[in-house]
């Protein structure tokens, strides 16, 4: 008989409770969106533009439509409702009508009896394009004579932040120019879903997404259906990292299902997945830091440019982040920060883990090292001297509230044990740069260590109220007490479902927690992004549990009983919504209170470089992270390690290779992800200072390691080679000096 009694050991908050979905996943029984199937289901496929910029003269689908097994071929004219979608700005055509703005843009969709038949039909569609000169350079996009990607011009958003006296005089100046590449989220589960037409003329969509309600709000108007006739159900999600924040196949599958009256499945192949979602914005960043001789920061000037590609997506928020974070987690009394996101004919960029904070950190931490060198100062001492703390006024005028243990993180990170030195000779080749390929024998080996400190906002910023709703029901049956929970929050792999169960166990004292499948029948939970679900949906679940518990205690009155289950003759349920504290958008000079809270991190990387061959082995990563309170320590460590791997990939190998707007490496053969041979051991330190206003004091934990690890790895490479290395990812050519990256040049 399960009782109602909060106690340790039942898998509550603070324990490393095993994942609720662990067993089905190890057995291969967990159903992902790409595994969905229905009797009589059709397969959908997408025809995409091969050109980054072109006018569509005509589309002839007649050959495709008569192919065996083909049930529908749809073009822009077949979209019954609003022709465009988008997370905030609805500027992305469901299917391109007159022009295409990037290579990979959807032009037509097909439903057929088999995937092979659908693929062949796609190839039989004839599109007559007038090919135009694409705009593919983010600086060129700012030129007054540049071709306009959209009628309103090429600026997605321009953010200017003026703080204190930007003309303040300093004794020591350093300046630098930095670039970062376009990274792909590469979740292993491809974009997929199944649309099932319903008897009421509506449609049920089962899909892998990050935010059911944002999809819903975009899909229904395009289908020309009232919202209640479009129902979204979460399917198994094989990772996300921002890639599922924008709509991909959702509207297409629904259109095909409604047209054919049959269930339609769409599942992207890996090459198509590279076109099917947005990427991390490439950036160009100019920075100038001024300090006093004792190392006190006086002023930061920054100019940031990010390439948003062809459509708006989340570029406004990404450039908002990059610009508001450009001075780093430091006390900077004067600043002039100017960020611009532009449109080009490159693939659209949007959300990826770290969301604008990664690019900024790469630049400001390189600057801090440069400044330390100019001052003959220890780089850690310089950071400690200027570290942000509660009460620090940020360049936006926002005062850092909540916890900000930056000094503790820096000291804790530096105190973690260094890996032992190893002699180059006699090693297993796997422990040499280049690894098992046996390309280095250890000559010319140099070791280096580098540090980086950074931060990331938690939850949505700039006035957004990304609340989350939860329903909780407490009842009893023959086996005792049971709590049921429902939210629309998406488990993408981060461990949210387990955290929710832990919160319920702690708040209600029941072991048996049943989670109902997320769908759009309940209120929005907001997105599984911005490190926000543990706080937001965790907060909603906590509030609902507290309401249920209050009712149960009211029923019990003053009776002293060992087990409140006696008072559960009828179930108790509650629905609650959690809001974070309000934030304020930036005004014309970039002043406001844009962010809810911050999570800080510090990383140290130790690398070995073969200086003749330009090969790298990362020996160890040490990450100290500000987590508020670790609700599930094992899961927090897993987030830090996984985030570190994505940071290492960003620093060393991961980049979408673009030539004239065309992606040249849309496969795992050519786009390299870190493997077991690339990832070193990660040692982590959790700094727990509870965040006020968040459930149990928890902070989101998904992003800080991804923010700081790239900057730390490249700092270590600089230390090992003595080269400037101002572009990530760092390639072997950079390390041996075959590619010298331009030094400082004036900003646009």
């Amino acid at each position: 008989m399960t009782a109602i009694r909060p106690r340790a050991g039942i898998g509550g908050v603070g324990e490393s409770a095993p994942r609720v979905d662990g067993l089905p996943k190890v057995k291969g029984e967990f159903e992902y969106a790409s595994d969905l199937r229905r009797e009589g289901m059709l397969w959908g496929e997408t025809l995409r533009s091969p050109h980054p910029s072109a006018r569509i003269r005509s589309i002839d689908v007649s050959q495709a439509a008569v192919r065996p097994g083909v049930r529908a071929v749809l073009v822009a004219a077949d979209v019954p409702g609003r022709p465009r979608f988008g997370l905030d700005v609805k500027d992305q055509p469901v299917l391109a009508a007159e022009v295409v703005r990037y290579a990979g843009e959807p032009v037509a969709v097909v439903a057929a009896d088999s995937q092979e038949a659908a693929r062949q039909a796609i190839r039989a569609i004839a599109v007559d394009y007038e090919v135009l000169q694409p705009l593919t350079d983010m600086e060129a996009a700012l030129h007054p004579d540049a071709p306009r990607v959209h009628p309103g011009g090429n600026v997605v958003r321009d953010v200017r932040i003026l703080h204190g006296d930007p003309d303040a005089a300093a004794e020591v100046w350093v300046e630098g120019y930095y670039e970062t590449g376009m990274q792909d989220q590469a979740p292993l589960g491809p974009e997929a879903g199944l649309a099932v037409p319903a008897v009421d003329g509506g449609v049920d969509l089962h899909v892998a997404t990050q935010w059911l309600h944002a999809d819903h709000e975009q899909i229904a108007p395009c289908l020309g259906l009232p919202e209640e006739k479009v129902r979204l159900h979460l399917s198994g999600v094989g990772g996300a990292f921002g890639a599922r924040e924008d709509v991909s196949m959702q509207i297409h599958a629904c259109l095909l299902a409604l047209r054919t009256g049959r269930p339609v499945k769409m599942a992207y192949s890996r090459p198509e997945s590279f076109s099917g979602h947005v990427h991390r914005h490439p950036s160009r960043i100019w920075m100038r830091h001024g300090a006093r001789r004792d190392g006190t920061l006086v002023v930061v000037h920054a100019r940031l440019l990010i390439d948003g590609g062809a459509y708006t997506s989340t570029s406004p928020a990404v450039i908002g982040n990059a610009t508001t974070f450009a001075a780093g987690p430091y006390d900077v009394p004067n600043a002039s920060l100017h960020g611009t996101a532009v449109f080009t004919n490159n693939p659209p960029c949007g959300a990826m883990r770290g969301f604008g904070a990664v690019q900024a950190c790469f630049a400001y931490e390189a600057q801090m090292d440069r400044l330390a060198a100019a001052l003959y100062m220890d780089p850690l001492a310089l950071r400690l001297k200027n570290a942000m703390r509660p009460g620090t006024v940020m360049p936006t005028g926002q005062v850092v509230g909540g916890s900000a243990p930056v000094r503790k993180l820096i000291q804790g990170c530096a105190a973690m044990p260094l890996p032992p030195e190893e002699a180059a000779g006699g090693r297993d080749p796997i422990r040499l740069p280049g690894g098992a390929g046996n390309t280095s024998r250890g000559e010319g080996l140099a070791r280096g260590a580098g540090y980086a400190v950074g931060f990331k906002n938690l939850a949505y910023s700039e006035g957004f109220d990304d609340s989350s709703q939860a329903w909780v029901r407490l009842s009893r049956d023959g086996q005792g007490a049971m709590a049921e929970v429902k939210t629309a929050a998406v488990e993408v792999g981060q461990g949210l479902d387990t955290i929710v169960a832990q919160i319920v166990r702690s708040e209600l004292g029941v072991e048996r927690v049943v989670q109902l499948p997320p769908d759009t029948a309940i209120g929005s939970a907001g997105s599984s992004s911005a490190s926000r679900q543990t706080m937001m949906t965790g907060g909603a679940v906590q509030l609902a549990c507290q309401a249920v518990r209050a009712e149960l205690e009211a029923r019990a009155g003053h009776h002293e009983v060992p087990d409140l289950i006696e008072f559960l003759d009828s179930p108790i349920e509650a629905v609650r919504t959690f809001h974070h504290r309000p934030t304020r958008a930036l005004d014309g000079t970039g002043q406001g209170e844009p962010h809810v809270a911050f999570a800080f991190g510090a990383a140290r990387a130790v690398v070995e470089v073969d200086r003749d061959l330009g090969l790298v082995r990362v020996v160890q990563l040490a990450v100290a992270q500000d987590v508020g309170r670790a609700l599930n320590p094992q899961s927090v460590l897993g987030q830090i390690e996984g985030g570190s791997a994505q940071g290492l990939g960003f620093a060393l190998m991961e980049e979408i290779d673009l030539a004239g707007g065309l992606v040249r490496n849309a496969s795992f053969t050519d786009y390299l992800l870190p493997t077991t041979l690339d990832m070193p051991p990660v040692v982590s330190l959790l700094v727990e200072e509870p965040e006020p206003g968040m459930p149990f004091g928890a902070k989101g934990v998904g992003e800080p390691s991804t923010v700081v690890v790239p900057a730390a790895v490249v700092a270590a490479l600089r230390a090992a080679t003595g080269r400037a290395l101002s572009r990530a990812p760092v390639k072997p050519d950079d390390l041996v000096g075959l590619r010298t990256f331009p030094g400082y040049r004036p900003p646009p």
């Binding site: 490393s16 095993p18 994942r19 979905d21 662990g22 067993l23 996943k25 190890v26 057995k27 291969g28 029984e29 967990f30 159903e31 992902y32 790409s34 595994d35 199937r37 088999s114 995937q115 092979e116 989220q185 979740p187 292993l188 589960g189 491809p190 999600v237 094989g238 990772g239 996300a240 990292f241 192949s269 890996r270 297993d428 796997i430 422990r431 098992a436 993408v492 792999g493 461990g495 094992q634 899961s635 460590l637 897993g638 390690e641 996984g642 985030g643 570190s644 791997a645 994505q646 496969s667 795992f668 053969t669 992800l673 870190p674 493997t675 077991t676 041979l677 990832m679 051991p681 990660v682």
Partner: protein, 157 residues
Amino acid sequence: MIVRLQVNGARREADVWPGTSLLTLLRDHLGLYGSKNACEQGECGSCSVWLDGELVCSCLVLGAQAGGREVLTVEGLNLERQAGAVQAAFVEAGAVQCGFCTPGFVVAVTDLLSNDPAPSEASIREALSGNLCRCTGYAKILDAVNLAAGRLRDSPA
């Protein structure tokens, strides 16, 4: 074309287009969705199965090549002692996040431990270098391998 093969101990047949991979045959024709399709190019290991006892990427094998042969997939593993220890270790060590890579890792680790019950860290890293995981950074996967290997050594069948 009709392909007849043994899958997880049972005789199965599928009517497939000649270009169909063993992975697609398993998933879309036999309904065995445990093997995953993250790349279909031999780069990620999420589709790992045994073909006549040999570990292969099923996306790189033609369905027709498996005709008359014996295939063992993650779904066929559940009762085996070694695989059971690997699966339990993955859950306990926190080696599962989104889980899309997990069936492939479970198969690859089971194969590794049946050939080498006490693998060194270097040989674990090398043996698993063909399996991509985008979520975990591999640390907890390596922990799971060591946990499973230790338990299997401590309690030999």
